[in-house]
């Protein structure tokens, strides 16, 4: 074969990808880190295509132009919508494939390098879901592996023994018990009381208290990301919604705090289950090593609030928020990719 730009013998680019319901992030071995909101849009017609000058839009750009797009959020409740075989299967599958291609493009791989990727998926993702993700990723990389998101977070921090990981995403909250080996099904709990759940509760509450306010779920989501808190002493949250076309201010401090707090009891209940089924000798050590990760961990005061709830129901515990909630999963996946032996990558090509 002619040696040319197409031969991939000039390096290996490792990618760690956190494929999330709300955001998809990548950490690459060329130093690139990037994140994109998990939204994909295709121009509805020729006119919008000419106006947007693109065949597909991603992230915030897709959100901005969503009225002139066939708009997709291919992941929901931590799984690909394409994997349920129902509804708009083909379109969601295409959106998921394009989203993965886009996040790989954002990592700026060179054409002459091998690309090996580890993708973090929800702890309890179905086999079908994993197959769809692998199928989509294989179109853009040379070799790909999947691993559970909370496990990737722990591996990235080298916390492999006697650790409880809480990974709060938009679609799911994943709890994972690490005990020095690969977590099994019994070591993992997935719940849907995550970011989208909070958005829904907050929207309900505002609708009850201010029925005249006009808003969308997307507006609620943006507000939550800016003001979310569970602290008693939080700053007042005053937001502006249109009422009959006129922008009007509303104080939603209480609604915001209460909605965010609703995720705490299920999380601590899940932690309690994982602690209770662990070796009694190490239960206290497990409770004292709780890692809080994922986009949801950025809710102000959440670590302290979980500690208080653990104190009340489990008799104590310590929660440590990871330094980079957005990239924690991607960083861990990158580290797994780096440590994986060459022959394993070769076999999975």
């Amino acid at each position: 074969m002619k040696k040319g730009s197409s031969s991939k013998d000039h390096g290996v680019l490792y990618l760690g990808i956190d494929l999330g319901t709300s955001r998809t992030s990548v950490s690459a071995s060329n130093g690139v880190r990037d994140t994109v909101a998990s939204f994909v849009g295709y121009p509805k017609d020729v006119i919008s295509q000419k106006l947007l000058k693109r065949d597909v839009l991603f992230g915030s750009e897709a959100v901005k132009h969503r009225l002139s797009l066939d708009f997709f959020r291919p992941l929901e409740a931590g799984v690909l919508k394409a994997s349920d075989e129902g509804g708009d299967f083909e379109s969601n599958l295409r959106a998921a494939t394009d989203l993965i291609s886009e996040i790989i493009r954002l990592s700026q791989p060179r054409k002459d390098e091998l690309v090996y990727a580890v993708i973090g998926v929800p702890a309890e993702a179905s086999i079908r879901n994993k197959e769809v993700i692998i199928d989509a990723a294989r179109k853009s990389v040379d070799s790909v592996m999947l691993c559970s998101e909370p496990f990737a977070v722990a591996y990235g921090l080298d916390w492999l023994e006697d650790v409880l990981v809480i990974d709060i995403g938009a679609g799911t909250v994943d709890l994972c018990r690490m005990h020095g080996t690969m977590p099994e099904d019994t070591d993992q709990v997935t719940m849907d009381t995550a970011g989208d759940f909070v958005d829904g509760r907050l929207a309900e509450r505002i609708r009850e208290e201010h029925p005249e306010a006009q808003f969308t779920v997307q507006m609620i989501k943006e507000m939550k990301e800016r003001h979310s808190s569970v602290s008693d002493e939080m700053e007042p949250v005053v937001v502006r919604f249109p009422v009959g076309g006129k922008p009007t201010d509303f104080d939603i401090t209480e609604a915001m705090r209460d909605s965010c707090r609703e995720v705490i009891p299920p999380i601590v209940e899940g932690l309690g289950k994982l602690v209770a089924t662990f070796d009694p000798e190490f239960q206290q050590r497990l409770k004292d090593r709780v890692l809080l990760a994922g986009g949801g961990s950025m809710v102000q005061g959440l670590d302290s609030a979980i500690e208080r709830e653990m104190q009340r129901t489990l008799g104590g515990g310590r929660v440590l928020r990871i330094e980079e909630p957005i990239y924690g999963g991607a960083n861990g996946a990158l580290k797994i990719a780096h440590d994986m032996p060459a022959e394993f990558w070769e076999q999975l090509k």
């Binding site: 074969m1 002619k2 040319g4 730009s5 197409s6 000039h10 390096g11 290996v12 680019l13 490792y14 690459a28 071995s29 060329n30 130093g31 690139v32 700026q108 791989p109 060179r110 054409k111 390098e113 090996y116 086999i127 994993k130 197959e131 692998i134 199928d135 592996m145 999947l146 691993c147 591996y155 080298d158 492999l160 020095g180 080996t181 690969m182 797994i336 780096h338 440590d339 994986m340 032996p341 060459a342 394993f344 990558w345 076999q347 999975l348």
Partner: protein
């Protein structure tokens, strides 16, 4: 060797054929033997479809050179006859001609041609006709007999030579053939004095592979069964034991030929498909390379960012001095196994 091809040479193919006729008439007149050889490259048409006319010419040129090499002591006169190579060997005996054919077949198997970065190997089908002075046949009859012989060789699966005596039907020759010949002319045997004994041995001896070569491909079931019965009749008086053996031989031969035919056809078809697909892959790869080169050139012209280089040039793997080395190694192994199972499932599903 005096040789003419379509492109160059001192003589045109017509001139060479005229010289062949003269040479042929001379050897007949003086009562010496003469041999005519017709060589065809197996599946040359397919190779041309896949790799182009240049490759075909390259192959024919290579075979011509090979013929030069293996026949230098016999001083033949030869020419290209469309995609075949025709050569006359004055003074050559049957044994010498068969030896040339064998050397030619063996030499062709060792040849390797390059096309589109792929190496091609070829095999030959060789038809041989040996003229005796007493036969009194003219050159055209002699040429037709050679063409029939090469056709038999091709129909037998190629990579073999078939000899014939122009006075009779083509007779078998397994020279250089790695596979058991499917069928070759039984008529040739009957026309050749003293050939009954080997044929009887072929039918009754301990080498079942030779049985097939005693049966003409062109014969139907009845014809080759008759041949076997004739051979058994020559063994002497009929006995119940001999009848039983005769029937068994006919039965076994029939089964073997049916199975051999079916297998041979399937193999040939598979080989054809593989050749076609490999050719397509080679062409697509070339197109892909060309497209990627062009994209690369355009990207450079447009100042498109070529990407950021990874800090790693090779796969790293877990460092042995890493903390928790053994534990991490186990964990990575488990991740790999889980993914391998998933991939196998995916491949199985596809």
């Amino acid at each position: 060797m005096t040789f003419s091809d379509s492109e160059n040479g001192l003589f045109s193919p017509e001139d060479i054929q005229r010289l062949m006729r003269i040479e042929y008439d001379r050897v007949i007149r003086y009562g010496i033997s003469c041999c005519l050889m017709l060589v065809e490259v197996d599946r040359l048409g397919y190779l041309q479809d896949l790799y182009g006319v240049e490759s075909k010419e390259k192959i024919l040129q290579g075979i011509t050179e090979l013929l030069h090499t293996v026949t230098s002591d016999l001083e033949p006169v030869g020419c290209r006859q469309e995609d075949r190579i025709l050569a006359v060997f004055p003074h050559a005996t049957q044994e010498e001609a068969a030896a040339v054919a064998r050397r030619l077949l063996e030499g062709a198997r060792r040849l390797e041609f390059q096309s589109d970065g792929r190496s091609l190997r070829v095999t030959l089908s060789v038809g041989l006709a040996v003229a005796e002075a007493a036969s009194g046949l003219n050159f055209d009859h002699f040429l037709r007999a050679t063409e029939e012989a090469v056709t038999k060789a091709i129909d037998g699966g190629g990579d073999r030579s078939v000899e014939c005596h122009p006075a009779a039907e083509p007779s078998p020759s397994s020279a250089g053939s790695p596979e058991p010949p499917e069928d070759t002319g039984s008529g040739g045997a009957s026309a050749s004095p003293g050939s009954e004994e080997p044929e009887l041995q072929a039918v009754l001896g301990d080498e079942p592979a030779e049985t097939g070569s005693a049966i003409s491909e062109g014969l139907g079931k009845g014809a080759w069964a008759d041949q076997i019965r004739t051979l058994f009749r020559r063994l002497g008086p009929r006995t119940p034991g001999l009848d039983r053996i005769e029937n068994q031989v006919i039965k076994i031969t029939e089964e073997s030929l049916v199975s051999f035919d079916a297998h041979g056809e399937a193999c040939e078809e598979d080989r054809r498909q593989i050749d076609i697909l490999e050719g397509r892959v080679a062409k697509l790869k070339l197109m892909l390379d060309a497209t990627e080169d062009e994209l690369h050139r355009l990207a450079l012209e447009k100042g498109v960012d070529p990407g950021i280089k990874s800090i790693y040039r090779s796969v790293q793997g877990l460092a042995t001095d890493s903390g928790d080395y053994a534990r991490k190694k186990d964990i990575l192994g488990l991740i790999y196994e889980a993914n391998l199972r998933l991939l196998e499932k995916l491949r199985g599903g596809a």
